[in-house]
Amino acid sequence: MSIRPRSSPVRVAEIVPVTPFVKRFRLAATDASPLPRYSGGAHIVVEMRDGGVVRRNPYSLTSSPLHDGDYEISVQRAEVSRGGSVFMHDRVRVGDTLAVSAPVNLFMLDWRARKHVLVAGGIGITPFLAQMAQLSAEGRPFELHYCIRSPERGAYREALERCFPGHVRFYCASKGERLDVTQLVASQPLGTHLYVCGPTPLIDATLEAARAAGWPGHNLHAEHFAAPPSGTPFDVYLQRAGLRVYVGEHESLLEAIEAAGVEVPYLCRGGACGQCETAVLGCDGRLQHHDHWLTTADRAAGRKIMPCVSRFDGRELVLDL
């Protein structure tokens, strides 16, 4: 089964600078029919047409899931951008039309939990904004631990303090404040679920500390905020389409395949959901796996690749597409 999020047009209704690096975009339906509802943690894939290039980036919905209405996303201008975030920051204007997918949630709250502990690093705060609106409306116990690099990078800090007093703690690296994850996981009541979103080192350290403290795997939830990495350009041959496709330095394998007119199912475009899994028919070189989906055994076998984030280095790669 392959799922492909249906895309629909939206109008950019408002653009608000949140920090020097983050802008919030409010996206409204272009007609009277409301946008689909979603739950906290859901993302949409935004399609941008930049001249001849089509870019599709996933962004968490940061608006409150409690009401029908416009979608809000918060976009951080990437330091090394592949184009998407810079396009959103510099080129998109109020009144423009963008296409967005239906919302998909790969980072759901488990409502059976007795308590929810949320750990955010930097722009990894975004899925939690929508989740906290739900948790607080339902009166569920929760706490947010939000790690930021410097005060001017703490997107939504004031709003969080105002809306969820007593539920949020900030750790500002430039002031020498550090979240002690070992201590955090040692003191939680039985039945707590932990959610972490942010840079990979924060995710790894948090999950590792929790596992070492005896937390079962199903109480742990992570969302990686990884854009597809850039890398050396390479060629790929699509067996069924009979096409040879060039993958440039700053585009992903998936983007290059789509640009060649071949459809590949996707949901997350971040190596997490498994939808884009593609069979490797021939590989004279090395697959560079960057996903969080394939098992160690899959990687060792070398028969599968996740084209949304993974690349190739070598002479020839043949895919079953």
């Binding site: 996981v185 596992r211 005896g214 937390w215 079962p216």
Partner: protein, 201 residues
């Protein structure tokens, strides 16, 4: 006529200690005590000193397994006359427990079912609970018609203890209420029912 292949029919494993757990809550009834005692050989150092044990002797009262469990010198130890009498203590332990606490349930199916149901109230997922079935196969059965629970059912067909309907006991299990489902056997033709068989001793 026993329905097979029903996915909700619970599967139990063998009790093994979780070496990562910071503390342990162990609940057993009747011969379940033997499953706990079987763990002694490969329990890690200091295991019992961080373990709470709740025991309901039930049908094994005469064998005094309780004395052997107490001899393990657990962190805390309590014997209750019945499963319902034990549950408030289990709730108190779960309520005070931290993440990193492992729950173990050993013994009859009703004990395991009640333990999993109560653990769920505290947000503990059944998949993380370690279980071992020992002893009686007697079931808790919920009448799907009047919703009453009949305890210690060994027969199918069995009269509902609440409404008196004759129930066929299915393998269909509800984790939420910790009971198998009993369906009226002679709804179409009153009195037309197969002989009761002892299936769950």
């Amino acid at each position: 006529m026993l329905a097979s292949g029903i996915k909700s029919r619970p599967v139990y494993g063998r009790l093994t200690s979780n070496p990562q757990a910071r503390s342990n809550i162990m609940v057993a009834d009747a011969e379940g005590a033997l499953a706990v005692l079987d763990m002694v050989a490969d329990a890690p150092d200091g295991f019992w000193a961080r373990t709470h044990i709740l025991y309901v002797p039930g049908g094994s009262a005469a064998q005094d397994h309780g004395a052997k469990l107490a001899a393990l010198a657990p962190f805390s130890w309590h014997e209750s006359p019945t499963v319902p009498a034990m549950l408030p203590r289990l709730r108190a332990l779960l309520g005070a427990a931290r993440m990193g606490t492992q729950l173990y349930l050993a013994g009859t199916e009703p004990l395991i079912g009640e333990g999993i149901r109560v653990a769920g109230e505290f947000g503990v997922d059944h998949a993380g609970v370690r279980t071992e079935h020992r002893g009686s196969l007697a079931r808790r059965v919920q009448c799907v018609h009047c919703k009453g629970i009949t305890e210690s059912v060994t027969m199918s067909i069995v009269p509902c203890a609440h409404c008196g309907r004759h129930l066929f006991v299915r393998d269909h299990y509800s984790r939420r209420i910790g009971a198998f489902q009993g369906v009226m056997i002679d709804a179409e033709k009153p009195g037309d029912r197969p002989p009761a068989e002892e299936l769950y001793r």
